[in-house]
């Protein structure tokens, strides 16, 4: 798995960061998380205002955004045919002539991963063979997580066995809402163990945690328990990724890095479907975490329709004419 990611060209230094081994559970680290919602919202609203990315810069940043997309399909009507289409789009996310026009045809830009339900892992792995694109699977009773722990662990093991290199688990929201931080820590630790070599992305379902302080605490517990990524949402909550949630989570990541030296990745998911939104997220990451995080090793968008808007923007950049959806290959 690691080797496959390393073969990709995304990382600035070309190498994946060392995995976060986690920390023993430290309740004090949770107690000191003071989050002021109004101030967080004010800062979150400022990224798109304080920084503006234009012309070639915008094109390059949007290509970076593509490289960080977990191209996702998580629907009841997913079929192998649908997933094969998605995988081919993942391998060639942008029309070749556009990439050539931008002078990046040889960079081999692909999306960051393909994200599917367990039943479709095998199809995706087969379709992506040799592309270097990992398959991510949602797990642990996604999206609500209301199944027994043993089944959750079994599901993870099955998915890893089926070839998933990344497992997107959902945490038990109840443990957050009842303040059972130790329980949450043990749960995530168990997931990490079950994942083995596969990377674990912990979905907090931020829209269901009630407060930003809970989002910060849950982020810390997951990182202490060894999460490789922390992720906002399943995409199925009524509120999914937002910039304020993101700010709270990336600040937790930054503090965790300052404390331990380990870099944990970040994945906002759900509701990000405009190129402009993607730029704001990238700005947030650059400003709060730095360029080291602007790599699919450490940053992903969980998105299904974002790519389409980026393709149109890239064509517009190249031609000066506004593009249309039908001009870009479907997935």
């Amino acid at each position: 798995m690691t080797a496959r990611i390393e073969s990709n060209v995304h990382a600035i230094d070309g190498r994946a960061p060392e995995r976060n081994p986690g920390l023993p559970f430290e309740p004090q680290l949770l107690g000191s998380r003071h989050i002021n919602r109004s101030a967080v919202e004010r800062r979150a609203a400022s990224f798109g205002k304080r920084r503006s990315i234009k012309k070639d810069y915008q094109a390059a940043w949007l290509l970076k955004a593509i490289s960080c997309i977990d191209l996702t399909t998580l629907a009841g009507d997913d079929t192998p045919g649908k997933v094969r289409r998605l995988c081919q789009k993942a391998i060639r996310p942008v029309r070749q002539d556009i990439l050539a026009g931008l002078g990046v045809a040889d960079l081999g830009i692909t999306v960051g991963a393909v994200c599917v339900y367990h039943n479709l892992i095998a199809t995706a792995v087969e379709e992506l063979q040799g592309s270097g694109i990992p398959v991510a699977a949602v797990s642990t009773g996604f999206p609500a997580g209301q199944i027994p722990l043993a089944l959750k662990l079994a599901q993870i093991r099955e998915s890893v066995k089926a070839g998933a290199a990344e497992i997107d688990i959902v945490i038990s929201r109840a443990k957050v809402l009842t303040g059972d931080w130790t329980g949450l820590y043990r749960e995530v630790q168990a997931y990490r163990e079950a994942c083995g070599e596969a990377h674990v992305k912990t979905i907090l379902a931020t829209g269901e945690l009630g407060t930003l302080s809970n989002v910060a605490r849950a982020s810390w517990v997951c990182m202490m328990a060894g999460a490789d990524f922390i992720k906002t949402s399943t995409g199925k909550e009524s509120v999914n990724a937002t910039l304020p949630f993101s700010l709270v989570m990336v600040r937790a990541i930054r503090a965790y890095h300052e404390l331990t030296g380990y870099r944990v990745g970040y994945k906002p998911a759900g509701g990000i479907n405009r190129a402009k939104d993607a730029l704001e997220y990238l700005i947030l990451i650059k400003e709060e975490l730095g360029n080291q995080w602007l790599t699919p090793h450490l940053f992903r968008f969980g998105a299904s329709s974002l790519l389409g808007d980026i393709e149109r923007q890239l064509e517009h950049h190249l031609t000066g004419s506004y593009s249309a959806q039908f001009r870009h290959p479907a997935s």
Binding site: N36, D56, Y57, A59, L282
Partner: protein, 804 residues
């Protein structure tokens, strides 16, 4: 850089805002900015122009008319001629024009923003996202007040011609803060922008013509201090509003002293930014960015003095340094710039020198490795740690992107250090503990206190200073009072109701005493200081005369040391949370009712004294006593009813417009008005929680000295009312010059009024003087009411965002 390279480097790249439209606007004016007088573009009388430059590049943008006294006189006359028509238009008519201004500014918002950034050097993000939207908001809000003036301010009228002088740091925003309320309330305006930044004012003036604003309602005179000076002293200007340095504010205070011009001053600051250990530190850091790296730190209310709890100081400093490294300094028209150019090379030199001074005094300087543009007036963001309160930079305004940091141990010490300043414009308080936040905010001497936020403004909330940061408020209902006056002021008499004999000199002429009835026990009236009867420091007395001029007793002659002692007593009565201002309004009401009760008990004695001193007959004297008791009741009643407000500002927060006692108020009571004058002046002040040092009427001094016995029996804490008898104007000067008095009310002569206002310039204490006019104290319209309470209080706006 190629797309491919950028894909690796992930740099931002340039994001220039086009200056083309703004440049072509300047070209349409032939790059020459003229006065607007009576609706006409008017060249300067002198024929002289000076250049205005883009601070980001040093390039000349335009030449600016150099206004002088002749230009100002024309403009003031134009405003005076337009006044009647503007008033006659009525609130609704004026509301339509203000509404049109708001709409027009919105429709041309980008032109205003780009021109502002070109002229001032501030980042386009700030002019686009902060300044110009606030400008539009200000006109909308005040269109509403124009509409509501008749209903909301009965008994008030416009002042007339208003002169307004504004600074260069927020050119159009300061114009809006000044012009919108003035026009809404029916005044006409002569505005002088700062010499560095005239452009957006000219664009605004052009807009006034475009919307059909009647000629002369808004006049613009460009130029430097010559024009400002002429505007300040022009006799037809009824009100002067100034925003700028404390130094210049002081000059204006002196220049207008005794003229009867209303004055508001919004001056400098060294605003504290308090960080307690339970704050959201990452948010604190962003707060600091908004506090001191907003507008290059050229903000009068910039949070320039960081006070951080010792337990978290190192952690916070490290976070600040990391954040500073991400700040982008550069051309004001680049959309990705955080810090633009300082206004002028003189300002750059000043900031540079002050930082050097700070380092010489022991501060540790930190600046990020950031690239500054080759030309233009740029200074990097700077953090100075290990700055002690005694350092120059802890006390003096730098007006640049320089943060100085100090630490504190406890909340009490935080308040002490926060208030250890001559200024009092704003403060920021960071804590996640609402108990702490709401404990600290009222204790800080500042007109705006931002809890867990900073530099937030809105038209609906008043802005203005305590102490040497000036007086008056801009914005909110409180700001409108600066542009209106009560109708009864027009009714004040030029002559006193009664002229009274006064004893000249000290001592008592031999044989002059008329002992009405023997046997007689000698009574010694004394001064009343700190709740005790004390002899005067000087050891002199003077004669008290009855209405016929006969000597009836001796009253002490207080001197400057007695005033000093009285102010100390008054200070200690309000100086702590358990003091008179800190006690509940209900408790104050009880004490004040009790004063009325005890005065009534001794009514006969006071009636006799009133008759003796005033020559009134028994029924007239009884009426005065009854009025006194009624007036005391009025203020007892008002003690707990002059409520604070919550302003409707447009984001998720509570904006408390808290009415706070000024602190210590000096009162020079009306000479001619006996007990009623004394009561009418003292009661509103103490009802609002102030302590007072009163210099009573010289003729009626015995009523004041009799009265302290009433106070003694009424549970009034010592030091709340202090009485120093003696020569009023001599003692008024001591009070006016005293630095530890927040307010001074003076009812006396024209000359005395001028003297008081002149001397008050040093401390910037709030003065209320009568310019030799006389109240009819028996008339409740003139003798009591909300005006008295407003003068006894100061409005502090406390902003409390919420949301978990």
């Amino acid at each position: 850089m190629s797309v491919r390279d950028i894909y690796t480097s992930m740099e931002y790249g340039p994001a220039p805002e086009s200056a083309a439209e703004a440049q072509s606007w300047l070209q349409r004016h032939n790059a020459t900015l003229q006065h607007l007088i009576a609706g006409e573009w008017t060249p300067p009388d002198s024929g002289e122009y000076f250049d205005t430059r883009n601070p980001a590049s040093g390039e000349v943008l335009a030449r600016v008319a150099d206004g002088n006294a002749v230009d100002v006189d024309r403009a003031v006359n134009a405003a005076a001629n337009a006044l009647d028509g503007w008033v006659a238009l009525g609130g609704h008519g004026r509301a339509r024009y203000l509404y049109a201004m708001a709409r027009h500014i919105q429709k041309n918002s980008r032109l205003f923003a780009v021109l502002e950034s070109l002229d001032n050097g501030k980042p386009i993000r700030e002019s686009r996202d902060i300044d110009i939207p606030l400008v539009a908001r200000h006109f909308y809000y005040h269109a509403g007040w124009a509409q509501l003036m008749a209903a909301e301010f009965p008994g008030y009228r416009q002042i007339g011609v208003v002169g307004q002088i504004i600074p260069w740091n927020f050119p159009l925003l300061m114009l809006a803060w000044k012009v919108a309320p003035a026009l809404a309330m029916g005044n006409t305006v002569v505005l002088k922008p700062a010499e560095f930044t005239s452009s957006t004012a000219v664009l605004f003036a052009e807009m006034c013509s475009q919307i059909g604003l009647p000629a002369g309602v808004f006049n613009l005179v460009l130029g430097d201090h010559k024009a400002g000076q002429a505007l300040t002293v022009h006799p037809k200007v009824g009100k002067l509003a100034f925003t700028g340095s404390t130094e210049v504010g002081r000059i204006l205070r002196k220049a207008t002293a005794g003229t009867g011009k209303k004055l508001t001053l919004e001056l400098g600051g060294k605003s504290p930014f308090l960080v307690f250990e339970d704050s959201d530190l990452d948010s604190v850091v962003e707060g600091l960015v908004d506090a001191i790296w907003f507008n290059q730190g050229q903000v009068c209310c910039a949070g320039s003095r960081l006070l951080v709890q010792e337990s978290i100081a190192d952690v916070l400093h490290e976070k600040i340094r990391k954040r500073m490294a991400k700040l982008v300094v550069g051309d004001s028209l680049d959309k990705s710039v955080d810090i633009g150019a300082l206004i002028d090379s003189t300002q750059l030199e000043r900031v540079t020198q002050m930082v050097e001074l700070g380092v010489a005094e022991g501060a540790r300087k930190w600046q990020p490795q950031c690239t500054l543009p080759d030309k233009g007036c740029y200074y990097p963001p700077t953090l100075l740690t290990e700055v002690q309160p005694s350092a120059t930079l802890a006390q003096e305004e730098i007006f640049g992107p320089v943060l100085v940091s100090m630490s504190f141990r406890t909340p009490a010490e935080a308040v002490q250090l926060a208030n250890n300043s001559r200024y009092g414009l704003a403060a920021s308080v960071w804590t996640e503990n609402i108990n702490l936040a709401l404990d600290i905010a009222p204790q800080i001497k500042a007109g705006s206190v931002w809890v867990n936020c900073t530099n937030v403004f809105d038209a609906a909330a008043g802005f203005g200073g305590y102490r040497e940061s000036g007086f008056g408020r801009e914005g909110g209902r409180e700001g409108l009072y600066e542009y209106i006056k009560p109708l009864w002021e027009d009714q004040l008499s030029a002559a006193p109701v009664q002229t009274l004999p006064l004893m000249d000199g000290l001592g008592v002429p031999a044989g002059a005493v008329d002992h009405e009835a023997a046997p007689h026990i000698d009574r010694t009236p004394k001064l009343y200081i700190g709740g005790k009867q004390v002899r005067p420091d000087g050891g002199y007395s003077t004669a008290a005369l009855d209405a016929a001029g006969r000597v009836i007793a001796e009253i002490p002659v207080g001197n400057r040391k007695d005033i000093r002692n009285a102010v100390e007593a008054a200070r200690s009565a309000v100086g702590s949370a358990s003091g008179w201002s800190g006690t509940t309004a209900h408790n104050r009401a009880q004490v004040i009712y009790y004063i009325a009760e005890n005065l009534n008990v001794r009514g006969e004695e006071f009636v006799r004294r009133i008759m003796q001193l005033s020559g009134k007959d028994a029924s007239a004297a009884q009426r005065e006593l009854d009025l006194c008791i009624e007036r005391i009741y009025t203020y007892a009643a008002l003690s707990d009813k002059y409520d604070s407000r919550v302003h409707s500002t447009p984001f998720r927060n509570v904006t408390l417009a808290m009415k706070e006692a000024l602190g210590v108020i000096g009162i020079v009571a009306p000479e001619e008005a006996g007990l009623l004058g004394f009561i009418s002046a003292v009661m509103p002040a103490i009802a609002m929680g102030n302590s007072v040092v009163v210099v009573p009427s010289q003729h009626y001094a015995l009523l004041a000295t009799d009265f302290y016995q009433v106070l003694d029996t009424s549970d009034l804490p010592g030091g709340v009312v202090n009485i120093v008898t003696g020569n009023q104007d001599v003692l008024a000067e001591v009070l006016a010059r005293h630095y530890d008095i927040e307010g001074l009310w003076y009812w006396g002569t024209r000359e005395g009024s001028k003297m008081v206002e002149e001397h008050a310039a040093a401390s910037m204490k709030r003065t209320w003087v009568n310019h030799g006019k006389f109240h009819d104290w028996e008339n409740p319209e003139q003798g009591q009411g909300e005006v008295f309470l407003r003068k006894a209080t100061e409005i502090k706006n406390i902003w409390i965002p919420y949301g978990e």
